[in-house]
Symmetry: C2
Subunit: 149 residues, 2 copies
């Protein structure tokens, strides 16, 4: 009965790309602006942001369930697309997905071992872009999923 959104987390380390749909995300500070995300350590995206210290967190729009679904699968970057979704290079060098309505680019501040099956990464927002002010974010409650990765 906890309420969660649906997000796509991306990262790049040298020539390796990682992207995954995640739902265990929350802001944790106003000043500085910090966000926490629980991420599986065996995921590609984890290895990428742990290596580069950079990640981008994208909001998925209410009508974009299909895009979120693409990032349930292992990352495959080719021809300017990650898992078939076009990407650009953000200000921090992190891949950003312009088809999603908003994203923040972040610096990895801490990776916390909680003793659980996900690591908790604390991200400091260094860039933010909102392409669609009116977009309504997709939530887990609106999907058939109980957990978004």
């Amino acid at each position: 009965m906890l309420s969660n959104g649906v997000y796509v987390l991306t990262a790049r380390c040298a020539e390796r790309y990682g992207a995954a749909t995640v739902s265990w995300v929350s802001q944790v500070s106003f000043e500085p602006p910090l966000v926490a995300a629980a991420v599986r350590r065996d995921s590609n995206v984890f290895r990428c942001f742990a290596g580069s210290g950079r990640a981008a967190l994208h909001v998925v729009g209410e009508q974009q369930r299909d895009i979120a679904r693409r990032f349930f699968f292992p990352t495959r970057a080719a021809d300017g697309a990650i898992n078939g979704e076009p990407f650009a290079e953000g200000a921090t060098g992190t891949p950003v997905l312009p088809s999603l309505p908003a994203h923040v680019e972040c610096r990895v501040e801490q990776i916390i071992d909680t003793g659980g099956d996900h690591a908790l990464v604390i991200l400091k927002v260094v860039e933010a872009e909102c392409r669609e002010q009116r977009a309504r974010p997709l939530t887990i409650a609106q999907t058939p999923w109980e957990y978004g990765g």
Copy 2:
């Protein structure tokens, strides 16, 4: 554009009670079941769970905005009620609020200094009770609030 629920976090340390509405909450592990919550260090509830190592996190139902609002104010426990809301003692000794549809009682596993304006507490679920299976949880998006404390 991050999606958040609305929760009431309670704790007790000896004869001192703390209760606050919080919204920066997410599950962070399946096994063991862990939840993270960002809480202001100067709050009563922070001091109580930091002292006792126990806290209870309650889901607020869709129609219970007024109950959430009560816990925006400083904690006052008197006559079996906290801020006017009746409470019982949970299995861990933590005050639980039976008017809310579900709660988990937790052990404090870690309190993390993120460098931000809230501390991040990692809670391990040790007891759970769902009184209303059909309750729909209140989310911040359904309220006039941008942030629930």
